[in-house]
């Protein structure tokens, strides 16, 4: 099977070279090519969502404002409310939600406020780009990071536009770019409602009239 995969990759790579279409400058991570509204609203434009269990904690991470350039400070907007939702009983409704938003101090420095981290302090506030103590040995972070998404987005676009597979396994459209992230550790005990199955998703929202 391995051999087969390799042959397949080679085949596809060849096709890609022949095709090679231009990149879409608005490419956005795993949630690429988003709606016009989300694409126009970088701070609220979610790219990727990660969640995994590590021992007694559950880590969730959200990326937004992708394709940021090296050296950037990140993208912060005090009008956006981010939510990381956990359904712990399978009804597709959130049973726990971590809310996050950004704000500035008098000097214009950006800070972040997390609320509702399961098992953690009710509120966690601190500067961006700083590891924050969320209580119970849990930690939270908001700030700019290297974009963790790896994907040949150019190949994806070419494939959907031409109807011919055009992926190139050596082309990571997101290499060298940054993204702004929320990274939160939650206590597994604080999340689970007694069951072993949990379901997570993330949202961004604004107030009516401010979108």
């Amino acid at each position: 099977m391995r051999t087969k995969t390799k042959a397949w990759v080679a085949t596809v790579a060849l096709g890609a070279t022949a095709l090679s279409m231009g990149a879409n400058p608005d490419a956005r991570a795993a949630d690429h090519i988003d709606s016009p509204t989300a694409t126009a609203d970088s701070a609220a434009d979610i790219g990727d969502f990660f969640a995994w269990r590590q021992d007694d904690r559950l880590i969730a991470a959200v990326t937004f404002a992708g394709l940021d350039v090296p050296g950037s400070d990140g993208t912060y907007d005090d009008g956006v409310l981010y939510g990381i939702h956990v359904d712990n009983n399978g009804d597709n409704e959130p049973d726990r939600t971590v809310w996050a938003r950004f704000g500035q101090d008098a000097d214009g420095n950006w800070g972040v406020k997390f609320e509702g981290i399961p098992g953690g302090d009710p509120e966690v506030i601190g500067p961006v780009n700083t590891e924050l103590d969320a209580g119970l040995n849990l930690r939270a972070f908001a700030g700019v990071r290297e974009d963790p998404f790896f994907f040949d987005f150019d190949g994806f676009m070419a494939t959907t536009q031409t109807g011919t597979l055009a992926f190139d396994g050596t082309r990571d459209s997101f290499s060298g770019t940054n993204v702004t992230m929320l990274i939160v550790e939650m206590s597994v005990d604080g999340i689970a409602g007694g069951g072993d199955q949990i379901h997570l998703w993330t949202t961004s929202a604004r107030k009516e009239g401010e979108e």
Binding site: T5, P70, E93, G103, G176, R206
Partner: protein
């Protein structure tokens, strides 16, 4: 099954090191966060009680903090003990305009036509079947366009009914599901290093019941690892490119 992915990944990893990423692996400074900051309970803004946060130097995790080079290290630098961030105090229910949502990687991008409606909706809407027709129509279109290529590459595409049966449980509703009793790794949650796109493509494009085909068959179609290494220590994701 997910661990197989990992093995495959390492096997297939070839020359993906792209430019511009002399990564700093940033050993996160553990003790840096021990105290300081926020403590519970407080409903309103920050509390000056404890020296808000460790001094800039101890923030190791952030690695090269973009700010620290330019101005006196954002926040900490000049606000010692005075950090008073102002946040909008409106309750979550006031944020009525949902701009975006994501659970599973790539679902909206690959299979949804009306993304405005999709972004404004919820997993409950997904489960109620609101977007099923859209997803099926897009899967059908995808196969009409790509099946010839798949077959030419020696692969067996799924017919639409099979694709829907394979992908449906994974992408509807659009949430990342985790069985806490199982090892972590896509699709049991998503680790930073998981090759989620190729696995998802296999589920959507291939007949997983065909001999020799599985969820990892397409791994390698796209890059199999990030341009910068991840860390198993908080904050897990690599410092920004400078």
């Amino acid at each position: 099954m997910k661990r197989t992915t990992k093995t495959l990944i390492s096997l297939l990893t070839t020359g993906l090191l792209l430019g511009g990423c002399f990564s700093d692996e940033t050993p996160p400074v553990e003790g840096a966060d021990t105290d300081g900051e926020t403590d519970a309970g407080e409903t309103d803004d920050v509390d000056p009680p404890d020296p808000p946060l460790p001094p800039p130097g101890t923030t190791g995790t952030t690695g090269p903090d973009p700010d620290s080079s330019g101005d006196a290290s954002e926040t900490d630098g000049e606000t010692d003990g005075e950090t008073e961030f102002e946040f909008d105090e409106a309750p979550p229910e006031d944020y009525t305009v949902q701009i975006d949502r994501t659970g599973m990687p790539a679902v909206a991008s690959a299979t949804i036509t009306d993304r405005e409606a999709y972004n404004a909706a919820s997993p409950a809407d997904d489960a109620a079947g609101v977007f099923v027709d859209d997803i099926v129509a897009n899967l059908t279109g995808l196969h009409e366009a790509l099946d010839d290529d798949l077959i030419a590459a020696g692969l067996v595409p799924c017919d639409v009914a099979t694709c829907v049966a394979q992908a449906g449980p994974l992408v509807i509703p659009d949430t990342l599901s985790i069985d806490l009793t199982m090892d972590a790794g896509f699709p049991n949650g998503r680790l930073p290093e998981d090759t989620v796109m190729d696995v998802t493509l296999a589920v959507v494009l291939l007949d997983l019941g065909a001999a020799g085909q599985g969820v990892t068959t397409l791994v390698g179609l796209n890059p199999t690892e990030n341009d910068v290494e991840f860390s198993d220590q908080f904050p897990y994701f690599a410092p920004a490119h400078q």
